[in-house]
């Protein structure tokens, strides 16, 4: 009875903290939102509730944990209210549990504002490498993406993505019309930080001449190198071996000498007797 009472008291002591914190579900998704529609400062609603206000073009939210499920998303002009006219509306946007997702408000190839959810690849990257993801979210035709002048990803169309694992480091990135060397965006220095998924968005409108690049970095996918190979000469091993041989010789020699001396001493005493 006594132990039960103690257990109950402990449970009560813990409970208030638990209620305030709110448990995180394993089925939550990590969601970021990118505003890639030129010219409009907006408010964003999910299932009728305000998610974001005064959201400026070219900005990316901090990650938000959302329970998995289906969401009705609505983008209005800033200050228009939950019932305001929708600039973009997307019903039933699927947010998968445990996924890392970026929802992008952007122009379609034809220039119409749309919302596209992209699932971000968070799998591990080998040591010394980075994952480069490029997403075509611009009102523009198919493009190739170049790194330091060489085509890295080809024939990308709106609203699709392409990705590759590349050496970490800073690249000079530009975007050309597919199959040509006509530069549509850039060049711009992009730091592909080791162990990250660096996501580059082409956004804006070719017709309005405001095409640009936006970048999102997700980190934590690095791997350790496969080993530290710090010695190929063997000289230290040789020295240790030589030292060991000398030591055994000394031990053996000392033992033989001691034994010999004892025998000699005993013979002398025997002779003396």
């Amino acid at each position: 009875m006594k132990s039960l009472r103690i257990a109950a008291a402990t449970a009560l002591a813990l409970a208030p903290a638990a209620l305030v914190a709110g448990p995180a579900h394993a089925a939550d998704a990590t969601v970021s939102i990118l505003h890639a529609v030129p010219g409009a400062t907006v408010d964003v609603y999910a299932n009728g509730k305000s998610l974001l206000t005064n959201f400026k073009p070219g900005t990316l939210t901090d990650p938000l944990m959302l329970p998995e499920g289906s969401y009705d998303l609505k983008v209005t002009a800033a200050g228009a209210g939950a019932g305001g006219k929708a600039i973009i509306e997307a019903k039933g946007v699927a947010v998968p549990g445990g996924a890392n997702v970026t929802v992008v408000a952007h122009l379609s190839e034809a220039g119409k504002p749309v919302l596209t959810p992209f699932v971000n690849d968070t799998s591990k990257v080998p040591a010394g490498k980075a994952r480069l993801t490029v997403r075509h979210t611009a009102a523009a035709p198919a493009v190739d993406v170049r790194a330091n002048g060489a085509v890295a990803l080809k024939g990308l169309t709106n609203p699709n993505e392409a990705k590759a694992v590349v050496d970490a480091g800073t690249i000079k990135a530009d975007v050309v019309l597919a199959g040509t060397s006509t530069v549509a965006i850039g060049p711009a220095d992009v730091n592909l930080k080791e162990g990250t998924n660096t996501i580059v968005y082409a956004w804006g409108s070719a017709a309005d001449k405001n095409l640009a690049l936006a970048v999102q970095t997700i980190s934590g996918m690095h791997s350790a190198p496969g080993g530290v190979p710090a010695g190929a000469g063997g000289q230290v091993a040789d020295e240790k071996q030589a030292a060991d041989v000398a030591r055994y010789a000394a031990i053996g020699g000392a033992a033989a000498a001691a034994g010999g001396l004892v025998l000699l001493a005993r013979r002398r005493t025997a002779d003396a007797r």
């Binding site: 939210t61 901090d62 944990m65 040591a127 010394g128 080993g227 063997g234 000392a254 034994g259 010999g260």
Partner: protein, 250 residues
């Protein structure tokens, strides 16, 4: 009386038993001398090998790997009773990536008590996926993708060749003599970071926990690494890594 009995017993036993007693005495002396020599010529112990084997993959402390996220922490959804907002403040920032950091990189490793004073250069990953070390044992490589000295968390990894064909034994070999409490200094441009040795361990490469050696999170620590153990003459590789762990100190 006894004396007479003894001398008669001696003559009765004869030379044989006297000889066997002599051999026994000689063996005892030999054993004593051998053990004594072995003890006198023993190698002096460095800091005892870490019994907790923090870098042993079979026994490493459980640290959950960080969930992949953007640098800032996520905002949790609020109580559903709050009618209109998902989060009290969801911030948005310009979608750009910071250019590569221009902070100074480590350039000198000094261990005064054992006479190590070596230049340090940034290194990355070799084609075979292992850490790339400077070719000469005279220089130390700093793993450029890991923590820097002075960072709040993660392991700063410095490694140098123990020996190389043509060069001989490298200066880093002296780390074998390090003891707990010894001071190590790493200079990065104008800044100097001091460390105190906590452990010196020699670990089979097959058991070494590389994720711990190259940890990007957890407490800030210095790992100075070289090779040790047995040398395979065909493969030209040692079978162990010697790892000095040191904690930052004022």
């Amino acid at each position: 009386m006894d004396h007479d009995v003894d001398s008669r017993r001696d003559r009765a036993d004869g030379r044989g038993s006297r000889r066997s007693r002599g051999v026994a005495a000689a063996l005892a002396a030999a054993l004593l001398a051998g053990v004594g020599t072995a003890w006198l010529t023993r190698s002096s112990d460095a800091a005892p090998p870490s019994s907790t084997a923090v870098l042993d993959s079979s026994g490493r402390p459980a640290t959950p790997s960080p969930p992949p996220t953007s640098p800032t922490s996520p905002t949790a959804p609020t109580d559903p009773d709050r009618p209109t907002s998902f989060a009290t403040s969801l911030a948005a920032r310009p979608a750009t990536v910071a250019p590569a950091a221009g902070a100074a990189v480590p350039d000198r490793l000094t261990v005064p008590r054992v006479g190590i004073d070596m230049p340090v250069v940034p290194v990355g990953v070799a084609r075979d996926g292992e850490m790339a070390l400077p070719a000469t044992p005279a220089r130390v490589g700093w793993y450029r993708y890991g923590a820097r000295p002075g960072d709040a968390s993660g392991a700063t990894v410095l490694a140098a060749h123990l020996d190389m064909p043509g060069y001989g034994v490298g200066p880093i070999a002296a780390v074998e003599e390090l003891r707990t409490g010894d001071v190590i200094t790493v200079r990065s441009g104008e800044e100097t970071q001091r460390y105190r040795v906590t452990t010196v361990t020699s670990i089979r490469k097959t058991t070494l926990d590389l994720d711990s050696l190259f940890a990007r999170d957890g407490p800030a620590v210095l790992h100075v690494v070289t090779c040790g153990g047995d040398f395979d003459r065909t493969a030209r590789r040692y079978d162990e890594n010697v790892v000095v762990t040191a904690k930052p100190t004022a």
